[in-house]
Amino acid sequence: MRYLPLTEADRAEMLAVIGAATVDDLFADVPAQARLDGPIAGLPLHASELAVERHMTGLAARNLSAGSVPFFLGAGAYRHHVPASVDHLIQRGEFLTAYTPYQPEIAQGTLQALFEFQTQVARLYGTEIANASMYDGSTACWEAILMAGRITRRDRVVLSGGLHPHYAQVVRTMAKFTRDVIDTRLPELQAEPDDIALISSIDGETACVVVQYPDILGRIPDLAAIAEAAHARGALLVAVVTEPVALGLIEAPGHLGADIVVGEGQSLGVGLQFGGPYLGLFGCREKFVRQMPGRLCGQTVDAEGKRGFVLTLSTREQHIRREKATSNICTNSGLCALSFSIHMTLLGGEGLARLARINHARAQAMVARLTQVPGVSCLNDAYFNEVTLLLPRDARDVVRALAERRVLGGVSLGRLYPGVASLRHGLLVTATETTTDEDIAIFAAELEGVLA
């Protein structure tokens, strides 16, 4: 077998060194009745690289890839152009096949990259500090809520109706077990986000208010006003950013008063990958550092006084604190954080801003063309690269019909909010720098055909 270096002669000689007659003697502690005496029946036996590649290629061919058709999906996962050098660099074995940097003297590559990543996230978010990544945006959002509870010692959580419904589901699921009280609402199909209703829900028991920016319908909530209201009642503002490229164009949540900023980092460097692996970004005020979840990389010096980097403040973490840890997280999204960081390094802050302006311009072109389709209007006054279109009929059916015409035409609100009648005519559509005029023209023509 191509991945197993021991020869039969090796095995025999090693057994002799060990003093065992057969390899099964080494499994003597497994109760005999539970030991399997051969390969498990019903499962195939080993296969060549050629055969496995053929099998996997066959499975891949049964999916319609985003790049092969006009594509307009977003809703928490965005298709951006990733420079070729990103994927090349993360496949260097020294990055790909290293472990968590527990031995810092021989892991400075990973550690310095994490330090750079933390700096990039903090400057993107406008927060003082950031950690070395979480699993994804949705789990980072829940961890931020837990952290707000530890800081405020309160257990009531107010979720904006503009929070991604899957994120809200994760929060509601976890809160069933922690007994946090979740005040949640559905979005309403209006141009303005529900900032005023949200502010009126904040009370003296509220640990935090959680606001997505831009929100699930593509609208931009007024974070400064919400932060002010939250702080007046001793609550924290948790801002959630599912599209980090937006922060090249709209103000960073940390600059608007958000205490904790979390989100999805997938847009930069990672790709769609059918939902994972992605990476959670997590930034906050420095004074909260000891309540943060996840790994932190810090600067220090070595025995010769040279600058170096280590994992630090690990007394927050499970391997030291066990049941008193701030989180149970262990493995995070190291390689995805590296991808994000390389892409961000290639862009630089000004490149990111330009990329954001391009995204917005492509969305403007998309909106201008699609709203010419009879019966179609756009909900949003303000948006980044994603808007909610209002269709004359159920958007789920439209999305399915478009797919049959080889157009991946957005995400219906019916998919995200099944059974909510008030939202079923809503269609989320996104344009990025990858969206061409031809894509938009085809989408408009096919949409017109489906709606006719």
């Binding site: 390969p39 296969a47 994972g276």
Partner: protein
């Protein structure tokens, strides 16, 4: 003091307190030992490695009051500069591709490159999680095929595929248990965890709302069955057992533990971090396990990537399967694999699921890699994986137990990892010195100071992908370092000397945390690395 090496040299690295080698270069680099500044110190504002044309027109009017005043203060690099920066950084890392990475409990095995290739097929890598199901049948089939393998290899009933790493899987398992208990109106408050458990076990149990109580170990490094039985009662929700355990030993009494837990109304969670030792040799389902996470990034070879991403599917017993999270895949009688989300959970017979753990459907990029690995090995190859992993670990154990103390060496063979302690090292010599000495020998050290039940623990997991010649080289170095630590070779205290950095000041890092770069792009002032270092 120590044996000579093949070249006739006696390994000893100078005396303690020796000045560092008197080598100073203008650049701070030394041949192929390359220093590298932070990207921010290299870049200049406005520099960019991506060609982007400024768009025409102004943003929509409604956006005016939200516009960012200043772009993030992050300098960029052009492509050649970026390639060089990260390539130079990469050379400061140890990796499996360079040599053995024998971290116990981490299963650092070879990462096959076929897996990387197939994961990058556009049909997997360039597919959106919310595409209509008819456009992603192949992706759903990947999840379903992998699920079938995991369930069959473990002899379990169902599997939750969405957990994003091992600890997330533990949480999934405990939430299933809690949901099952609450469904029968039997809220319980305590989870029992052995002292030798991974730190994630008690952290997860606490996260899920349980009080954690410790179970003692027997003198031979296993769960004390009598003590466990004595503690079981109507308040105990679950027992969390790692099997093989973190001492590298199989829990012989696993079935008896499970039977006792079940008799007391509790569930059995198995930490599957060490599944590599038994895959294809024994099925946890046959031992009474109710839930077990599988780290695809350990047993099934998906790369660790310097700390993730992982993937932690959880196999579930028949009793727990109804409570698993959403979404999941299900194959209907017509052979079509469906993605079951909130709206059709009830119709698909899953009304009792505990909810959603993360936004989408799990770590698809890890599923494709793991499935390619599993299909490559097949049922026969996976069995050989476990056998070779256990053989390699026992070979290390028996080849070093005369120079390092093996606390459980006398109780029989180990499983996939060999455990040593610092007993027998000279005064003032510790496990840390052995680890740092191994770095100078060109190896990544073993897991140190874990499990906590053994003082100065050294946990060595070679995995099945080490050749015998490679193991012999590692053993020779470990023996040499161990002999030096036993003899009190002071030079070990200043190891490592040949790594990109000497021992780092972790106390300073924690006392005055510097977590982000504080400089301003393009503004000189921060000293370059060669001014700080360059000894």
């Amino acid at each position: 003091m120590t044996a000579v090496n093949a070249a006739g040299w006696r390994p000893a690295i100078g005396e303690a307190g020796d000045a560092p080698p008197a080598v100073a270069t203008m650049s701070g680099d030394r041949g192929l030992m390359l220093e590298e500044p932070l990207s921010f110190e290299l870049g200049a504002p406005g520099k960019c490695g991506v060609d982007l044309d400024e768009p025409e027109g102004a943003p929509v009017a409604g956006l005016a009051r939200f516009l960012r005043r200043q772009a993030p203060a992050l300098p960029g690099l052009t492509e050649p500069e970026a390639i060089r920066h990260y390539t130079r950084l990469s050379r400061q890392n140890y990796a499996i591709d360079l040599g053995p990475f024998p971290l116990g409990s981490c299963t650092m095995k070879h990462n096959p490159r076929l897996n990387e290739k197939v994961a990058r097929l556009p049909g997997f890598a360039d597919v959106h999680p919310l595409q209509p199901q008819n456009t992603v049948r192949g992706a759903l089939d990947v999840i379903n095929q992998l699920a079938h393998w995991l369930v069959t290899l473990t002899g379990m009933h169902g599997v939750a595929m969405t957990p994003k790493a091992g600890a997330h899987g533990e949480l999934c398992g405990l939430l299933c248990i809690r949901a099952a208990l609450e469904a029968r109106g039997d809220a319980r408050s305590v989870v029992l965890v052995p002292e030798s458990a991974h730190g994630t076990n008690p952290a997860t149990a606490a996260f899920a709302g349980y009080r954690v109580e410790s179970i003692p170990a027997t003198a031979d490094g296993r769960v004390d069955l009598a003590a466990l039985k004595g503690r079981l009662g109507p308040d105990v929700a679950a027992v969390m057992i790692t099997n093989p355990n973190t001492c590298g030993l199989f829990e012989r009494d696993m079935k008896a533990i499970a039977d006792a837990a079940h008799a007391a109304g509790a569930f059995v969670y198995c930490d599957g971090a060490n599944f590599n030792a038994i895959v294809g040799k024994v099925r946890p389902g046959d031992l009474g396990v109710d839930a077990m996470h599988i780290n695809l990034h350990k047993t099934f070879s998906t790369p660790h990537g310097g700390g993730g991403p992982g993937s932690g599917p959880v196999v579930l017993s028949e009793a727990l399967s109804p409570f698993g999270p959403l979404p999941f895949t299900a194959r209907t009688a017509d052979g079509v694999v469906h993605l079951v989300e909130e709206e059709d959970a009830e119709a698909m017979g899953h009304a009792q699921g505990f909810g959603r753990m993360s936004a989408f459907h799990g770590q698809m990029g890890m599923f494709t890699r793991a499935l390619a690995y599993i299909l490559s090995h097949g049922a026969d190859g996976l069995r050989q994986v476990a056998e070779d992993a256990v053989l390699n670990a026992n070979y290390v154990l028996r080849s070093c137990e005369d120079v390092l103390t093996a606390p459980f060496g006398a109780s029989g063979p180990c499983m996939h990892e060999a455990l040593f302690s610092d007993a027998g090292l000279a005064d003032h010599f510790s496990t840390l010195d052995v680890a740092k000495g191994l770095i100078d020998e060109g190896f990544h050290p073993m897991t140190v100071y874990f499990p906590l039940v053994v003082k100065g623990a050294m946990l060595i997991e070679p995995t099945e992908t080490e050749s015998r010649a490679g193991l012999d080289r590692f053993i020779a170095s470990l023996r040499s370092v161990a002999e030096r630590a036993r003899a009190g070779d002071e030079s070990l205290h200043s190891a490592p000397r040949f790594a990109p950095r000497r021992r780092l000041d972790e106390t300073l890092a924690a006392r005055k945390p510097v977590l982000v770069w504080q400089g301003t792009p393009g503004v000189p002032g921060a000293p370059a690395l060669s001014e700080i270092g360059g000894s």
